[in-house]
């Protein structure tokens, strides 16, 4: 920040010809942009907390949604629905994503055509709008495979949605493991798979965990594809299994936002606070893991 002034100080008698006013303005402009971006976040958090405060009570997670009695309505079915959907999403996405990343990073020839094709493909998928995944889920899982508007349809769709992010972050974590760990293992007569599974993967665990948390938190907050997959139906029961109907927290928030009665706006805000607390906890955990393990090598 003070480099310019320091420089002139060192030069001594040479007074700076015209203070670097433009430089100051430029730096302050940058700071202001950053400040506005961050203060939006703070205003958002403050607004939903204040607005949702009256309904941040145990009824929020103890009761089911209700159309007629907003003062007693709760989000239990949405909480349980989110738990069900995310558990199954993790079940589908994590093994697939980690194994795919292992293949691309440890086994495939970096210049092979298949590798290049898969890589470009994954980069593209990572940027496909989430509503398009909803269309895929609707056409393939809900209708063609006749799974209907169920937990499993939602989980399969969200699993495909987070797969690219999961693969990319897992690959980055694997790449951060130094080459000489692999060499050490291979030089002892371990096979490529033994090396990948027993050395590289465990050494990359913190980075992979960070990626898993961040991609699952994305799935938890995702609403758009589920709009097409039946989650908007008014649900006042907890899911009983993978083939059960369901709703999730973001969808419940959406439903309440659509209802113009003030009580429901407050309820929506309270549910947002609940959702944000879950997501912020996950985010902080991820950041904590990353900071803790950053300088290992």
């Amino acid at each position: 920040m003070s480099t310019d002034t320091e420089l002139t100080d060192i030069v001594g008698g040479l007074q700076s010809k015209g203070t670097p006013v433009r430089d100051r303005i430029f730096m302050w402009a940058l700071l202001v942009t950053l400040f506005i971006a961050i203060s939006t976040l703070l205003v958002l958090i403050a607004y939903v907390t204040i607005k949702g405060w009256p309904r941040l009570d145990p009824k929020l997670w103890q009761n089911m949604p209700s159309i007629r009695r907003p003062e007693n309505a709760g989000a239990q079915s949405a909480i349980m629905g989110t738990l069900w959907v995310i558990s199954l999403t993790a079940l589908f996405a994590l093994p697939t994503g980690i194994l795919a990343a292992l293949y691309l990073e440890e086994f495939s020839h970096p210049d092979s055509k298949f590798q290049r094709f898969v890589e470009v493909n994954i980069q593209n998928l990572a940027a496909v709008p989430s509503i398009v995944y909803g269309i895929l889920g609707l056409a393939v899982f809900a209708r063609a495979m006749a799974l209907g508007q169920t937990v499993i349809t939602a989980s399969l769709t969200l699993a495909l949605l987070i797969l690219p992010v999961l693969i990319i972050s897992t690959r980055e974590a694997l790449r951060a493991v130094p080459r000489n760990i692999r060499d050490g293992s291979l030089a002892l007569g371990a096979t490529e798979w033994q090396t990948a599974w027993k050395q590289t993967l465990p050494a990359a665990t913190p980075g992979i965990a960070t990626g898993i948390i961040l991609s699952l938190s994305r799935a938890i907050g995702e609403a758009a594809p589920l709009l097409l997959l039946g989650a908007v139906t008014f649900i006042t029961f907890n899911p009983t299994g993978p083939l059960s109907g369901y709703t999730t927290l973001p969808i419940q928030i959406y439903n309440w936002t659509k209802d113009s009665r003030e009580e429901f706006q407050i309820l929506a805000a309270a549910t947002i606070v609940l959702l944000l607390v879950i997501l912020l906890l996950m985010n902080f955990t991820a950041i904590w893991i990353r900071n803790k393990t950053q300088k290992r090598w």
Partner: protein, 313 residues
Amino acid sequence: MSSTLVGSSVAGDPGSLQRTKPRYGEKVIKGILVMAAGVSVLTTFGIVLSILIPSIEFFSEVPIQDFLFGTEWTPLFADGEFGVVPLVTGTLVITGIAIVIAIPFGLGAAVYLSEFASPRVRKTVKPTLEVLAGIPTVVFGFFALEFLTQVVLVKIWPDIDIFNALSAGLIMGVMIIPTIASLSEDAMSAVPSGMRDGSYALGSSKRQTAMFVVIPAALSGIVAAFVLGISRAIGETMIVTIAAGLQPNLSFNPLEGMQTMTSYIAAAGSGDLSTGSIEYKSIFAVGLLLFIITFFMNTISIGLVRKFRQVYQ
């Protein structure tokens, strides 16, 4: 010093270097790994096919030129019109507002983080931006409708529609700031420090170095960030569904409500449409257009990033 350890090794025929046991397991595992990597390829095919087939059926009923150039979108009328232009203009207006916000703010944050911030500041600010990136879009939608429109914007424009493009666009801009900031910062950090040193050695200030050396050097990476940010805005659904309303509206007045391609898909798709109906198929036709536009932009962005990496790595 001689011991059992060495004994066993020399006892075996040192000349035989062939496989002692077949490793079928390795092959099976490798097959499983290839399949896992193949899931992403299948996903792409799934997306393309699941959009394309109903779209083809749709275009056998609605001529493609009527779809692309028609200015009426009334799918629920008995004799519905399927001109997509109002949805496209709605998308463009809101995306336009979003990038007017996101590009200066995202780039400003990136320049600050990459060129000015101390490591300590960076360590606090970057996670904050990540938290901003992690806010669910439904939450942004609620904030746009409840706070920005009904608390702030009505005070400035008392006759603003409750559902309007402006608040959706502004909040969407905030939503994509982290995308643009973090990708641009990556690009600027990749610029070799030798280039900066060269500039400082000529007596340039940090501002001059950032503006005339670092940003031009990182330009293709920064443009890639912009393109990806715009693609994100075009594909974003929840903010527009909640805050911009669900009325197709061929207008460029940001104070009015309008429907976008994504919010049409969301609204029509959340109803219980029968599989064969023209309304059901229209979801896919709009989805196809959305997919083509975003795919095109993503490909440009990926290509720019690759080009950028080739220069500096």
